[in-house]
Symmetry: D2
């Protein structure tokens, strides 16, 4: 079957790291998977040993287009207590500046999306942080980042916690509140399936809110048990919620990259084989989803909230039940 506006696949490059290998090796191993036609690079760490031009060549050699960059505000770089929310103005400035440099690199490479995961921007204790100041500082920093290059998209990837016990941007709705207040057209949100699950959200509902109040600029696929960022292969625990998300994305018209944010390293899996299973299962579940997008009986069952009838249709499509 043909899938119009078919998203391309990318995957977490660090999963392919062997020993002390650098980014060149990771890209080469990702190329072995077959079926990965896009990649995201981390900034600044993936740019330590290679220029933007060299990285473009390395990707091209594997038939991969650069999807975007993802900022990493590492502890070692002084961001342990926060990046955009760090109590020290100088550190906040450094976080903004490194993000701008990342955007310059992104533009130089012809990429389109800068993903911000502000993992250190949170708090561990009551009475540790001034929440209002953190919120203001984040909005101010994001405005400066967005305005640095309005031709590029800037996407917030929320996550409930880790490394901080509470993140400032823990879930979809909090992120959307911030984005609405920010008011920048080039800002949007990245939906990470496992983050969505352990934020207590239903993925397709989170997608609906995102499409209504902002734009979905990235989709990170994986799975988990809804308690932490398990990073399991896509579709392995919540196939029905995955299919429902695909239906929602197809309705919304999302045609960006599907990025597998999984941790084969945790479970001791071979990353090439694991990436292939991600693709295989995703292709199957997406094909099932495509068959449901215009399913009249399903639409009718949902219009009357008849979960018995819709379950019959879904179980038929998935398991032949």
């Amino acid at each position: 079957m043909t899938l119009p506006n078919r998203p391309r696949y990318a995957t977490r490059l660090n999963a392919f790291k062997r020993g002390k290998e650098g980014i060149a090796g990771m890209i080469a191993h990702a190329g072995e998977v077959g079926g990965l036609s896009a990649a995201d690079l981390n900034f600044p760490d993936h740019f330590e040993a290679h220029s933007a031009a060299e990285l473009s060549d390395l990707l091209a050699a594997q038939g991969m287009a650069l999807n975007g960059l993802a900022m990493r505000y590492y502890t070692e770089a002084g961001f342990k207590l926060g990046a955009f929310t760090h109590p020290d103005r100088a550190v906040r400035r450094a976080a903004i500046d490194v993000t701008k440099r990342g955007m310059d690199a992104l533009a130089a490479m012809g990429g389109t999306v800068m993903t911000l995961w502000m993992g250190q921007d949170g708090f561990d204790y009551s009475f540790q942080a001034d929440y209002a100041r953190m919120w203001d500082d984040t909005l101010e920093a994001m405005a400066e980042v967005c305005d640095h290059n309005p031709a590029l998209d800037v996407s917030v990837e929320y996550k409930p916690n880790e490394p901080r016990a509470h993140a400032l941007m823990p879930d979809m709705a909090t992120t959307l509140l911030a984005l609405r207040d920010l008011g920048r057209k080039n800002a949007g949100v990245t939906l990470d399936f496992a983050h969505v699950l352990y934020a207590g959200e239903m993925p397709a509902k989170a997608a609906m809110l995102a499409a209504r109040y902002s734009r979905i600029l990235g989709v990170h696929l994986n799975d988990g048990y809804g308690k932490r960022d398990d990073g399991l292969m896509a579709g392995t625990v919540h196939p029905v919620q995955t299919v429902e998300l695909f239906v929602a994305l197809e309705r919304i018209g999302y045609d960006g990259v599907i990025y597998f944010d999984t941790f084969p390293d945790h479970g001791g899996l071979d990353p090439v084989q694991e990436a292939r299973e991600n693709i295989r299962l995703t292709e199957r579940l997406r094909a099932i989803a495509s068959g449901l997008v215009h399913h009249v009986g399903l639409a009718e069952a949902m219009a009357r909230q008849d979960a018995a009838a819709s379950t019959r249709i879904i179980a038929g499509a998935l398991y032949g039940a």
Copy 2:
């Protein structure tokens, strides 16, 4: 010590129900507590046997002012599949109409806040509901309700789940997104401590967001273990988070009622004795909070996110440590 703008206390009247007693008996028992100077009534069930005028007299006889009404969309009344989100337009209309009648009763009694807990407005399964339609229907219904009497406040009390497996309004930020879209000045949010906890939120941070993007129209105090709506006595599990919330409320200038939404019935406690412990512990924790609102050392520790220093101050204030 004197607490300026001191909120009054109310408590869940149904906790006082003995046998098949009606609302008159519950109010009388609540009067035995001492210290409860306000009450919320449920609509329509608390109005079954008495007129609004009679209810006002019953409250006055116990020295209680009416704080507000809380809508109940009961299963028996046909709202099992939803009130404002019910798939059947006629049932949605009935939900809106009963809410308007509740607002009329509220106005007649001189109350100020109508609390909406839209517990049936959610879903249990993927592919059960059309999330976008539910969202639209809720906004449309709320607009009609708010516009019915702009002199009254309308407050949304969110809750992650129960009875539905997922609520449409599960957390503070989702509620605030809806309220911003709604754009009614008489709309706001009720913060229920146990709901906040099991939504994975930090109470004082939720209060910050509410004050920034809407108004806090009600505070339901209780406690729990962060997994469900335990309804335990206020301050019994999370005293530090309770104190931090009080500090936030005092800074925001919240001077509404503190309503104890606890379930003495679950633990087999005497509701009068339980209500007294709610008041006693709350008064103590609020006094501690008042001493922290302008604490210079605490503000300095928080300005540098120094949780060791702030913990020393908090532990000193709470435990004399």
Copy 3:
């Protein structure tokens, strides 16, 4: 295909209650489902209007065998603070005595399993209960109950919480610790899928522990999101975990009843239609499981913990991926 030792199906009769209908009506409606060949009755409430003999006749008329009885220690009967753990010796005695009467009724009807869900036996607060005394009292009560009729099986259905905030028997391993200490051959455990999930357990692993240290005397099938007792249709959220459980049960040789402990009432579903979907989806997932029990490639993948390889096999079996 033929399924040797094929378990029969039963379902929660209270789901079929319409209005103020009694147990006779519920049984009749359950008969409409088709495919339900067994039933469990609650004691004492299902015995209020009918004798044991009459109930046997009502079941027989629908082609249903009695699987067993399930004790209900209702709040109204004085068990709010506990049944076997109630602080008052007289109430503990009443709980034991009503359980014995239930066993007598069970024996009279030719049933085999008495299920104990000790939902009130828990605590809400720290410093509310003497855990050691509760544990002793429970073991003592269970011993008396088991010894009342060693020809009947007595099964503990654990659940993490609700109505109490913490249950004394919240998970499989705690239950097995108690059962080992109890040392009665006619005691065992009932595995409820949704309880297992929100106890944080993996169902097939819980089954392994149960088979190793006790006996599985009942399986309650349903599904949920791992946070509370959602009571969704079997297989609708965790199909892979459901299939893995079926494989484990087939290996263990469990040939008891599969009881659907679901709440169609919560989601407003028609209970007859919902029960049919429970059976249809369960039959399909069990057939898939049967094909995996002796799958050599799967066994090899699991022997080396190769989740990529096993996922390929499972996804192929489930989705044709």
Copy 4:
């Protein structure tokens, strides 16, 4: 006040690591805290640059006694897929052997407790692992380890997950089931407060089970929000549960070390200052606990499960309420 059988304090040495400093530096910094009279070392990593004798001298120079060793089965050493449960017999052998060498080092240094945190011994996916084989292999390995030197205690520190999505030993009761089956007198359990919380357990109840069916050989104090291993300062989130645990430990007669297993690094705290707050707050909460151990009114309230009365006593003791 004097505390009989007063436990000594130890803390996580890795929290004191600055830059690339080794164990000698960490011990020196721990010495700056004051009040730390014991230490645990990790095996084998803390023994890389120093002999057992040298480490003893380093500890002695800071006035610290060695409490025990804690095994670390690192990914780099080949234990990614498991230590005692690794699918490869040779790796399981290596795990057992390195543990025995750790016990030899422990004996040489005069320590008494070997703590086993079997973090890699778990699984991520359904159909990834043969649970029964993992269980058998673990019991077999533990038997060999315990029998290697019956004069030393071997303690299992359970944890629900991380790095694996599910641990084989996730909670107290599962650990106790294994320990009972193991049947070794020198085996026991370590209770880590944050692990207990996110296993869904009540700490004092877990202690009761441990004392009844095994021995508590270690107590790791910290705090968290019950969702993951937050590693917050002791008593900062759950002071009441911490006090209840102290009461339980005093009743049980636990006189071992209190080890602060906290992560000051996560929140960017100074580890010396953070350790001092751990000690200060713990001393205060333990003093409060000691005053409650023989409190007649509290015992009477608990005997009738009267949480309102016990809350009044506890709030009075903690907050002067």
